[in-house]
């Protein structure tokens, strides 16, 4: 049975407002999703009842806060099917997760002449940390090319692999085009030459079932705020043996076992990578977001979003001047497009005037835009609370805007 979208919308207070006198249509979900009331309640509840520092307090509040904090870690463990909760560490988000791997795994294991492979589809946050590392180490960054539909060319990737490959860091689902990469194949091929694999799951985690054991990835990075959770929080999954082989990230409290001025011994994972007081309130409220997703079920969410994407394609393709960007076979609910003879900024602003929130520009994927020969795109991205009637409004708006230059 399908989801009750009207009921789901009722759980998101922010959706019920007018923008420029029009009901808000929120289609910027690939940038950040809205938060259900349960997440907001969990946040307030924590500050009202449980606020305290975790892990070492000898009192009831600290005990409760610690328990809730660790319950979120367990919820994430099950959400991505990690073997144990210790394989999940908290970060500020996907960007920090990737930087953490570059600064620890990268610093220890990547040497001069080694190679790191990324793809043309990557977000800047999965390009720049590797460029910085390669520059520091004298390593080489290689980029998997894509076809015009926005899919990686797997045969080219296979040719790049060698004993020199230390790490493959690749996006699971593209933020700019929606392309879902064949990551299982990528991981198997990379492992065959002894390379580790990091998946950037910022976009995939809210749409696809994530099973890190089945995927066999070594790292999986994600952001809470794209999963109906709070901003400024994310996580990094790593296989225990890989995490244990890595040096700590930042030094400070929590990450130590024993400190003397002569020598410090480090804590076990996950705490080894969590120096300082963490973002306790957001971690605790994130569990409400995971519960929300679990209650609906990833499969039902995906089915609804697939339906929205197919419907949007069908509606917009009829518009004169509509140019879809990114037509991969496998996609999450991201619709990137341009209007003939119009700049994406102008289209985005006209849509905003109609109460429709989309993103315009290069989507932090400048090399991808360059490969596609574009300055940018208009991107509409759908989440579980979006409806077909909202897509009708988008189609109506785009159609009116397109007519300005496409009579």
């Amino acid at each position: 049975m399908g989801l009750n979208i009207a009921k789901i919308r009722g759980l998101f207070p922010v959706l019920h407002q007018e923008v420029h006198g029009k009901p808000l249509v929120y289609f910027d979900n690939a940038a950040t999703t809205q938060k259900p009331q349960a997440v907001l309640d969990a946040l307030t509840n924590y500050y009202e009842k449980d606020n305290s520092n975790i892990h070492r307090g000898a009192h009831a509040l600290a005990d409760r806060a610690t328990r809730y904090f660790e319950e979120t870690r367990e919820a994430i463990q099950h959400f991505i099917n990690a073997r144990e909760a210790a394989e999940v560490i908290f970060t500020k988000g996907t960007t920090e997760s990737i930087n953490l791997v570059a600064a620890t795994f990268g610093r220890k294991f990547v040497e001069k002449g080694d190679e790191i492979i990324i793809s043309t589809l990557e977000h800047h946050s999965n390009i720049v940390p590797w460029q910085m590392l390669c520059e520091e180490k004298g390593a080489v960054l290689k980029v998997i090319p894509i076809n015009d539909a926005g899919e990686i060319i797997f045969e080219e990737f296979e040719k790049m692999l060698s004993a020199k490959t230390k790490l493959v860091s690749i996006v699971h689902a593209s933020n700019a085009l929606g392309t879902v990469n064949p990551v299982k194949k990528v991981i198997a091929a990379a492992h065959a030459v002894g390379a580790k694999v990091l998946l950037d799951g910022a976009q995939s985690s809210s749409h696809l079932q994530i099973d890190v054991q089945d995927l066999d990835c070594d790292f999986f990075a994600f952001s809470a705020h794209k999963l109906y959770g709070p901003t400024g929080l994310g996580g990094l999954y790593g296989k225990r043996e890989v995490f244990e082989s890595m040096p700590p990230y930042q030094g400070g409290g929590e990450m130590i076992k024993e400190v003397t001025f002569e020598k410090t011994t480090y804590n076990e994972i996950p705490f080894k990578f969590e120096a300082g007081t963490p973002n306790i309130a957001d971690v605790i409220s994130f569990k409400a977001a995971i519960d929300f997703i679990n209650e609906l079920g990833k499969d039902a969410i995906k089915a609804h979003e697939d339906e929205l994407l197919a419907y949007a394609n069908e509606q917009l393709m009829q518009i004169k001047g509509f140019i879809p960007v990114g037509t991969a076979q496998e996609k999450v609910s991201v619709l990137s497009f341009n209007i003939n003879a119009m700049h994406p900024y102008d289209v985005g602003m006209m849509l905003d005037a109609n109460g429709i929130a989309v993103r315009t520009g290069h989507h932090c994927t400048q090399p991808l835009m360059k490969r596609l020969g574009l300055e940018g795109t208009v991107r509409a991205s759908f989440a579980v609370y979006n409806s077909k009637s909202e897509i009708d409004k988008l189609a109506e708006g785009v159609s009116r805007i397109a007519r300005i230059k496409n009579k």
Binding site: M342, Y345, D346
Partner: protein, 143 residues
């Protein structure tokens, strides 16, 4: 030639007719961009772009009969419209007039809420660059 204040008053009354409808206001701004004089292709280069704008904006100035002559272009229609508004007020005026101009129409038409805060920053950069050109030409005239 109308004074800077008179031109600004004209603009304000035009925007008043448009009222609160944001879509028609933006559409109007986009149409205004069409009134910009053709920008020379060979001037569409990096040194002529204005920093701080999200979209690309090229702006050049030269002296004509003691006044400052501006030419500008952008890759987006809304930005072109915004520049055309500025040039309608400030083009072909003396450096001194431009430097001392108080551009109250920006606030009076509620530009901030029409174009949003990111574009407003870009708009402020355009005004700054226009005044810098005027200062440069004034310096040259006084030399």
């Amino acid at each position: 030639m109308s004074s800077i204040q008179e031109v600004q008053d004209e603009i304000v009354s035009e925007f008043e007719i448009l009222g609160d409808d944001k879509e028609s206001t933006i559409y109007y701004i986009m149409e205004l961009g069409g009134s910009l004089e053709d920008f020379p292709d060979n001037e569409r280069i990096e040194v002529n772009t204005i920093k701080g704008c999200q979209s690309k904006v090229w702006l050049i100035a030269d002296e004509k009969d003691g006044n400052v002559h501006f030419q500008a272009d952008s890759n987006t229609d809304i930005t072109k419209g915004l520049i055309s508004l500025l040039l309608r007020v400030l083009n072909y005026r003396s450096p001194e007039e431009i430097i001392n101009a108080k551009l109250d129409f920006v606030e009076r038409i509620g530009m901030g809420s029409i174009i949003g805060s990111q574009r407003s920053n870009g708009f402020a950069s355009m005004i700054k660059q226009i005044k810098l050109y005027a200062m440069a030409i004034q310096t040259k005239q006084n030399a």
